[in-house]
C-alpha cells in the first residue's frame, strides 16, 4: 500500500469511498462532520495508508459539492474573493477580534470588491450625476441590510441611452426600463431624474436567477406582481425626488394604501429583498390568502390594460371589475387591521378611544375611491367589520355614532384596556 502512487491509491479507494460516502451523506448535515467521519472510516480501514493524500483525491471535491448542494441548506452565499493558496491545516480562532481599531485599510484590489463604484458603464454626464445622487440618497435613507441587491448590481450596471428611432426596432422603451437579465438600464437621452430614479430602484431591488431564468424584482416575480411593484417603485421615487410624476398614478395610490396596512418598514424590507411571498404573508394577517392573490392579479391586469383605448367588451368589463375588487379589498383589509388594533389598544377613556377610531376611519375614508365605494357602501363595511354606525357629513367628515352598539359581547371594546 505504501508503494502505491496517488492514482493507484485513489482507484483502490474509490469504490469503497463511493459506497461509504453515499451512505454517510444521508446522516450528516455539516461539511466538517462529514469530512471527519469519512476520514475516520478510512484511517480505521487502511491504518498504514498515509492519508495526507486524502485531500488530493480528485473526485472528492466534486462529490462533496454534489452532496453539499442538498445537504447544506443555508441561503445563497456570495463569494467575493477566494485566495489561491495551498495550506494543509488551519486553526480557526473563534474568539479573536481586532481591538482598538482606529482604521481598517483594505488593499486596493479588495477595496474594489467593496466600494460602490459610482462610475457606471456607458453613462453620460447627465445620467452619471443622477446615478450619484441616487446612490447618496439610498445610503442616507435605507439601512444597509436592505442594499444587498444594490451592491450586487451597481458594480456591473450597464446603461443605454436611446433615441426615438432606436425604440421602434429594438427594445421597447417608453421613457426608461430596466432589464434584469442583462442588468441594463435604458433611458431616453433627455430623460429626467424621476425616470432614472424609478429604474434605479428596480435595479436596487432585483435578483435574476440565471439557472431558472426567474426574475425577482421588488414585488414582482417574473410577471406576477408587476402592478404593485410599479406602484411601490414609483412611490419610493416620488418620496425621494423633486417634482411630480404622472406615471403609475393609480398603482402608486394603491401601493400607498398597501403600505399603510403592512407598515413601512416591512414593506420596504420585502421590496428591497425582492420578496413577494413576504408581502403576501403580511397581507394575509388581515385578509385571506385567496383574496390577496386575487388582488395581486387584479392589479396586474389593471396595470397592463389601463391605457388601452380599444378593449373588447369582455376585457373592458374585467378592467372595471378589477378596479372595484381592488378598492373593496383595500377597504376590507384596512378595516380588519383597524379592528385588530382596536382589540389590543390601551387607552384611558372611551372618548380617547372614540377619537382614535374616528381618526383612523377618517384616514381610510379619504384614501378610497368614492366613485367605487359610496358613502353608503363605506358605512355598511364599517358596520359589518367593526360594528359601528357612522355618518359622513358633506365635508367628508366621518363621525362614529356610538361605541359598542352592534358588537357581540366577545368583541366589545375594552378587551385590551386595563
Amino acid at each position: 500500500m505504501e508503494k502505491l502512487g496517488l492514482k493507484e491509491k485513489a482507484n483502490l479507494l474509490k469504490e469503497d469511498f463511493d459506497k461509504y460516502a453515499e451512505h454517510v451523506s444521508k446522516e450528516i448535515n455539516t461539511m466538517p462532520d462529514y469530512m471527519q467521519k469519512v476520514i475516520k472510516y478510512f484511517k480505521e480501514k487502511y491504518p498504514n495508508a498515509n492519508l495526507d493524500f486524502f485531500h488530493h483525491l480528485p473526485y472528492l471535491p466534486n462529490l462533496i459539492d454534489r452532496i453539499g448542494k442538498t445537504l447544506f441548506k443555508y441561503s445563497c452565499t456570495i463569494i467575493l474573493y477566494c485566495l489561491d493558496k495551498t495550506f494543509k491545516t488551519i486553526e480557526l480562532h473563534r474568539d479573536f477580534i481586532p481591538k482598538n481599531i482606529k482604521k481598517i485599510k483594505l488593499s486596493p484590489e479588495l477595496q474594489a470588491d467593496y466600494l460602490v463604484t459610482n462610475e457606471v458603464e456607458n453613462a453620460n454626464e447627465h445620467l452619471q450625476v443622477s446615478i450619484n445622487k441616487f446612490i447618496e440618497m439610498l445610503h442616507q435613507k435605507f439601512p444597509e441590510e436592505l442594499l444587498l441587491y444594490f451592491y450586487r448590481n451597481i458594480g456591473s450596471l450597464d446603461t443605454k441611452i436611446t433615441s426615438e428611432k432606436d425604440d421602434v426596432n429594438k427594445e421597447t422603451v417608453v421613457l426608461g426600463s430596466y432589464r434584469a437579465d442583462k442588468n441594463r438600464m435604458l433611458v431616453s437621452d433627455d430623460e429626467n431624474e424621476i425616470t432614472i430614479f424609478h429604474e434605479l430602484f428596480h435595479m436596487a431591488s432585483t435578483y435574476y436567477d440565471f439557472k431558472t431564468k426567474t426574475k425577482y424584482s421588488g414585488f414582482c416575480q417574473n410577471t406576477i406582481g408587476k402592478g404593485i411593484n410599479e406602484g411601490y417603485t414609483q412611490l419610493l421615487t416620488n418620496r425621494n425626488t423633486e417634482g411630480f410624476s404622472y406615471f403609475y398614478l393609480y398603482e402608486t395610490r394603491i401601493a400607498t394604501m398597501v403600505e399603510e396596512i403592512v407598515g413601512q418598514e416591512k414593506m420596504q424590507k420585502n421590496y428591497f429583498t425582492a420578496n413577494l411571498k413576504g408581502l403576501i404573508e403580511e397581507l394575509t394577517k388581515y385578509i385571506s390568502e385567496e383574496e390577496v392573490m386575487k388582488f395581486i392579479q387584479a392589479l396586474d391586469f389593471y396595470q397592463e390594460y389601463e391605457f388601452e383605448t380599444s378593449l373588447l367588451p369582455g376585457k373592458s368589463q374585467k378592467l372595471d371589475s378589477s378596479k372595484q375588487f381592488i378598492e373593496k379589498f383595500l377597504l376590507e383589509a384596512s378595516l380588519n387591521k383597524l379592528k385588530m388594533v382596536i382589540t389590543t389598544i390601551n387607552l384611558n377613556s372611551e372618548i380617547e378611544l372614540k377619537d382614535f377610531i374616528q381618526q383612523n376611519l377618517q384616514n381610510i375614508y379619504l384614501k378610497i375611491d368614492h366613485t367605487i365605494i359610496s358613502n353608503l357602501d363605506f358605512s355598511e363595511y364599517v358596520r359589518q367589520v367593526l360594528g359601528y354606525n357612522i355618518t359622513i357629513s358633506d365635508e367628508y367628515f366621518v363621525n362614529v355614532e356610538e361605541l359598542n352598539s352592534n358588537l357581540n359581547e366577545s368583541e366589545k371594546i375594552g378587551k385590551g384596556r386595563s
Partner: protein, 94 residues
Amino acid sequence: MADEKKYMEIVDENDNVIKYEILLSFMLADTGKHYLIYTDNTYSEDGNLKVYASIYSPLDDTKMEKVETDREWQIINDQIQKLILKNNKIKENG
C-alpha cells in the same frame, strides 16, 4: 494565474499597523452581512495556520464585529473546508 494577494491593514489607537492576509471574503444573502476570513500568517504550536473570521462593514472602516451565531460559524467552516479542498486540488493539477 493566481490572484493578486488581498490584504487588510488594521491601524490601532497607538498607530500600530497589523497586516492580515485575506483568505476569503463572502456575503450572505439573508443577513446582508460581509464576512472576512483572514490570517496573520502565524502558526500554532501544532503547526496549523491561525485563521480568524469577522464581520466587516464596507461603509464603516473603524469597526469589525464578532461572528455570533452557530449558523454563521457553520457556514464559515464550510467555506474554509471548500477553500482547502479547492486549493489543494489546484496544487495537484498545477
